[in-house]
């Protein structure tokens, strides 16, 4: 077996040093009824060539579809150089940077990641990354409850992605946090309902989405004041790609920004790995979970980076911890750091412009078929909802026959479509043509 270096002679001499007679003696203290004595019902070992063929055969059972689906996961361009860099063994096979003297590579890229996330969101501080956008939002909710004194209610806007919402609700249920939904009106958060639900003076935080689940860019003017007047924190779940052009959470007056950074060039990969981000204002830094990297110097005065503010972390606080997160999603943080470096502000803005143009063209063309109308008359970037005269199941089935993943069904008559810079005019026209012919 190529992963086991032991020769029979090695085993004999090592057993002798250990003062043991046989390999069985290594488990001699274990009650015999606990020892596993039959063959595993697993396949026999495969060679690399066999594995490649086998995985190819499984891959053949997947379809290759042109993607117009979004709902939190977008088909953006992945620059070729990222995978070779993150596959370098020095990054790939390192553990968490507990020994900073030999982990400056990891520590520095996390510092760069933190710097870039703060540039995008406008926030003062961020941690070294989270598992995904759903769990980052759940952590933001727990942060708001930990920061508030004796409040355990959090409001979620109805316009949030339901996939994020259900994870937040799960965490909240076991953590003892009460979740209430703020109603939506014409596809956006109903601010009057938000104000009404803040009247009890018992809300720790309010979670809002940007762009929201329907792709709409919501106008949150004045919302921060509404929240802060009632001593509730304003939490925004934001697609970081959009932040190259949209008003930042800080500019809206939010206290915490969170979300999934998959849109920063990470392949869709059937749901993961992606990377969540969680950023906040300076006043909340002691409540921020997870790892944080700071700059410092070594004994020779050289610039260096180190895990810092560790007194907040689970392994120190143990049962007093507000979060149990140990690690981060480090390699994927490196991924998006490289992506943001390559793109720069200009490139990110360009991606938004191309996606915007495609999405608005597609929307207009779909409306022109007479089979669709815009579900909401509101500004959007690259994702939008349409009302359809034909059942959305029928539409999606017809599109699948043309090799198109036709968006995400919201209901029998509402379809959510997403366009990225990767979609060509021909692909969009084929989608429109197919809908038209129904």
């Amino acid at each position: 077996m190529k992963y086991f270096p032991h020769t029979p002679e090695d085993i004999d001499s090592m057993l002798q040093v250990a003062g043991l007679k046989s390999m069985d003696d290594l488990y001699g203290e274990i009650p015999s009824q606990l020892l596993f004595n039959r063959e595993f019902a697993l396949p026999e070992a495969m060679s690399e060539a066999e594995i490649r063929k086998f995985i190819d055969s499984l891959g053949d059972k997947n379809g290759k579809l042109v993607c117009f689906a979004g709902a939190g996961v977008e088909d953006h361009y992945a620059p070729s150089i990222i995978n070779p860099i993150i596959s370098r063994g020095e990054f790939l096979t390192a553990y968490t940077p507990y020994q900073p003297e030999i982990s400056q590579g990891t520590l520095q890229y996390i510092f760069e990641y933190q710097s870039m996330i703060c540039e995008l969101t406008g926030m003062d501080v961020t941690n070294a990354s989270m598992y995904d956008g759903c769990t980052a939002t759940a952590e933001a909710v727990m942060m708001s409850v930990a920061a508030a004194k004796k409040r355990n209610k959090v409001l979620l806007s109805a316009t949030m992605n339901p996939k994020v919402k259900r994870v937040v609700e799960t965490y909240a249920k076991y953590n003892g946090i009460e979740i209430e939904t703020v109603a939506e009106k014409d596809g956006v958060t109903d601010i009057a309902d938000l104000e009404a639900k803040l009247q009890g003076d018992d809300v720790a935080g309010v979670v809002l989405a940007q762009p929201n689940f329907y792709g709409i860019v919501e106008d949150y003017s004045g919302v921060a004041d509404v929240c802060h007047a009632k001593k509730a924190l304003m939490i925004m779940n934001v697609n970081p790609m959009s932040l190259a052009v949209l008003k930042t959470p800080t500019e809206w007056g939010a206290d915490i920004a969170c979300g999934d950074a998959q849109s920063l060039g990470i392949p869709m990969n059937y749901g993961g790995p992606y990377v969540g981000y969680l950023a906040c204002t300076n006043s909340l830094v002691r409540k921020l979970p997870g790892r944080i990297v700071g700059s410092t110097t070594d004994v020779d005065g050289k610039r260096a980076f180190v895990l810092t503010l560790q007194a907040r972390e689970q392994h120190i606080r143990r049962e007093k911890a507000n979060s149990n997160i140990c690690s981060n999603q480090s390699l994927m943080a490196l991924y998006v750091t490289i992506y943001m470096s390559l793109m720069g502000s200009k490139g990110l803005k360009e991606v938004n412009k191309l996606s915007y143009a495609g999405a608005h063209y597609l929307a207009d063309q779909l409306v022109a078929t007479g089979k669709c109308t815009m579900a909401y008359d509101k500004p959007f970037l690259n994702e939008f909802a349409v009302k359809t005269t034909v059942d959305t199941k029928t539409i999606q089935a017809a599109l699948l026959e043309k090799g198109i993943l036709g968006g995400v069904r919201i209901s029998d008559d509402t379809l959510l479509l997403c366009v990225t810079e990767q979609r060509t005019k021909a692909e969009m026209d084929l989608l429109v043509e197919t809908v038209k012919n129904l």
Partner: protein, 488 residues
Amino acid sequence: MIRNYDKLIFELSKEGRVGYSLPKKQVEGYCMCCGLPENLKRESKPELPEVTEFDVVRHYTNLSNKNFGVDTGFYPLGSCTMKYNPRINEEIAAHHAFTGLHPETPVEYAQGALEVYYNLAASLSEISGLSAFTLNPYAGAHGELTGLMIMRQYHIQRGDLKRTKVIVPDSAHGTNPASAAVCGLQIVEVKSTAKGTVDVEDLKPLLDDTVAGIMMTNPNTLGIFETEIPEISRLVHECGGLLYYDGANLNAVLGKCRPGDMGFDIMHINLHKTFSTPHGGGGPGDGPVGVREGLEHLLPNPQVKKSDDGKFYIATDEKSSGYVSNFLGNFGVIMRAYTYILTLGRENVKMVGPLAVLNANYVKESLKNEYYLPIEGVCKHEFVFDGLADKSTGVTTLDIAKRLLDYGYHAPTIYFPLLFHQSIMIEPTETESKETLDEFIAVMKKVAKEAIENPDVVKSAPHTTPVRRLDETTAARFPKTTYKQMKG
């Protein structure tokens, strides 16, 4: 040369440089700048670097040279199972037929991906002796939290709402109490005996009708097998609680005994430890959670199932503990672990634990004259020294760890478990050869000798690393966590 590289990517920036190529605009008109209302646009410009593709390649290649991975050298980090991360796993995870799948892809178009998920879950069931697995949790800590949610949901569904305590041994990983707290449970600590195992006599009075369950690692964090586990299982089940197995140390018993057979009801596995997926500098990992028969419906949604005609589908169960992830976990990591199991096959899986345990005992016995071994006897995959045997030198565990860096090794886990003051926790894993271990043993002996003959060289270590000991106090007192803050 490489050592001295100390630029940040921001410091390479020059206005006007770009590192990307994008497609041409596909349609006329549709200008975002004119279309988007002004009050929705950002006012400030994000200051990201402006660099070329080549700048980026060279920068991160140079950064990687300041890092130490399993590929670089021996990494005896206790409880982290730093085994070899095979490259075939990486190749398979990057397979184009899988990486382009959107999670909303209809199941008929994702049968291959679902089969990978289903097969890995089934393999983990067989290996661990439990009935069913979810692969949705993203990491070990996340698996723990998911497992505890299942435990709570089990009691909630039985209408037994007073069970809010979870028993945790004093040797437990720090994450155990933190996960329990996040899950709304109170922690009760059970003591260890002088031999390092759970004190059954101390456990007995803790067991009442407020106990939701117990969390254990077996072998525990001292690398010692809890031989009284059948009795502990009987006692905890008798009082109505469940047994949770923290799979951090599963590598020790892989192929030799199974948590399900020990009486555990719920467990998590760290794919990035036991099943060879890379740690990635702190993630992404994956933390599958398994349950015994009768608890399957409590696994989080969505769940992957197989119908009678052999087709795979995605199901949701309303009795489930809830949702813990965006979709089906870190799918790319699942691909890697599945590849590892295919490579090992049934004939090699059973050798992982024994070879890992052999390596650990070999190192332990070879070093116990120089380092103080507080608990004698056969260990499992790891063991703990309580500092140097000679306590007169003033050389601490931290000093030893730092000195090892000079000799080209990653340090062991230090100051954990908390049962000893100078813990040095060593886990060699099965993929290390006798020669590698012999060299490590020789260096450990040399450091012990240096501690006596020239303690200052150890106390001031490391000397040869890209940077030396860091000023952590200033970093925490005046935190500078972004480039902007650093520039002032």
